[in-house]
Symmetry: C5
C-alpha cells in the first residue's frame, strides 16, 4: 500500500455497469516523509474518505478484496484512513495534531 492524499473528485455518467454506486476519488501519492508527489491514481473509495484526508490505497487484484469493490473493474482502492505514521520514532503525519511535518 502507499500513502495518498485525497485531492479531487471525478464524475462519470457513462461507465461500466459494475461501477454503479462506487465513488471514485483522485488520490495524489505521498512519499514516506509525507511529501506530495506528482503521481496520482483514481481510486474507488471503500471508506467514505473526505477531501484532503490522508489515506492508504491498495492496487491490482488486491483492490477488489473489499466488499464494496469485489468483482468490479477497478485497480485501486482506498482501504484505510491514516491516523498517524512514524519513521524511527518521529511522527511524520498526525491527523489530529499539527499539519503534516514535511508537507
Amino acid at each position: 500500500m502507499l500513502f495518498g492524499k485525497v485531492t479531487g473528485t471525478v464524475v462519470s455518467t457513462r461507465k461500466d455497469e459494475k461501477l454503479e454506486g462506487l465513488t471514485l476519488l483522485l488520490v495524489q501519492q505521498v512519499d514516506a516523509r509525507g511529501k506530495m508527489t506528482n503521481q496520482y491514481v483514481v481510486a474507488a473509495d471503500a471508506m467514505g474518505a473526505g477531501m484532503g484526508e490522508m489515506v492508504m490505497f491498495a492496487t491490482g487484484s488486491s483492490a477488489r478484496q473489499t466488499d464494496k469493490t469485489e468483482n468490479r473493474p477497478i485497480d485501486a482502492v482506498i482501504m484505510a484512513i491514516v491516523d498517524t505514521w512514524e519513521i524511527e520514532g518521529d511522527v511524520v503525519y498526525d491527523k489530529y495534531g499539527a499539519d503534516t511535518v514535511h508537507a
Copy 2:
C-alpha cells in the same frame, strides 16, 4: 485507474480468438492536471469511446472484470468516460465545458 485520452485506433486481423469482437484503442495517459504524457496503452474498449474522448482505464486482472473483457488476454480496459474532474475545487477537465484547462 488513470486518466487517458483516446488518440488512436489499432487494426489487427491476426489475433488470439478470444479477442474477436473487441475494439482496441490507443490511449495516451493524462496526468492529474489534465496534461498529456508520453505514456500510452492499448486498451480494450468496454464503453464505445470515441476519438478524442477523455476516459479512465484500469489495468491488470481488473481489466478482465467487465462483461466484454472477461477471460480475455487483455491487460487494460476503458471502463468509464470522464465527464469532469476537479482538484481542490478547481475544474481540471469538463467534457461539456471549455477545453481542458491545462491541456
Copy 3:
C-alpha cells in the same frame, strides 16, 4: 497492451515442464509513435509471430488467458499481430505499406 517488435529468439532446454511446447520471443517495446525503446520483454508467442513483426503483448495474469498459455508460468504473451495503427488520423505503422513512419 503495448506495441513491440519481435527482434530475437531465446533457446532454453532446462525449463519448467509447463513451458514445454511454448515459443519464447524477445520483444522490444515500441512507443506510440512507432519508435523502438530500450525496454524489452521475453514473451510467449500465441500467434506464430515472425522475426521483425510488429505485435501487441499483454502482461501479468492476462498473459495466461490464451489457450496456449493457460496455467503456465509466463507473464507476457504476444496475443496479436498489428496490421496498422493511427494517431489522430495519421498512419503510424502499416504492415503492408511503407516502413513504420518514425522507426
Copy 4:
C-alpha cells in the same frame, strides 16, 4: 521479492473490516548492495517483524498467499526476516554480524 528495512509504524482506526488484526509497517526498499532507497511500501506484517529489521516483502496477489493475509485488501506483505545475503561470495548483510556493509 525485494529487500526492505522496517523503519516505521502506521496507525489507522478507520479501515476496511478485512484489515482488522493486521499490523501495517512502513518498509523502505533496500537495493542489492544493502543501501537504503527512497522507495517505500506499507506492508502487512505476517512475521512479527521489529523496527529496524531487514525483511523481504512480496507484492501483488502474492501478498495474499499467507494465512494472515488471505483475501484481504493488501498488496504487500512481509513474508520473511533476512538473516544474511551474499553477492558473489561477499556478505552484503548479516543480521547477527556487523552492520550492513554498505548501509
Copy 5:
C-alpha cells in the same frame, strides 16, 4: 519474462511456513543486449539454478504457476535457464560458448 543473472544467495530462517523448502536467489536483471543492470529481484528457484547462471524469471501471479511455487507468497520465480539468445541474428548470449558478448 526478463533475463537475469544469479549473483547471490539469501538465507532466512524466520519466514512464512509456506516458504519452507524453497530456495531464494538474488537475481540481477540483464538487459536485451546482455548487460547487467542495477535492478534486482529475489526469486524462488524452480530450476536448481547455479551461481552465475543466466536465467529467465517471471513475476506476479505467474510466479505461482510452477509446481514448486503454487500458492506460496512469492512474486518472482526462476522458470528457465537460458542457453542462448539472439537479436537480429547476432548471438547476444551463449551458455556454452564464449562469455556474454556485452557483459
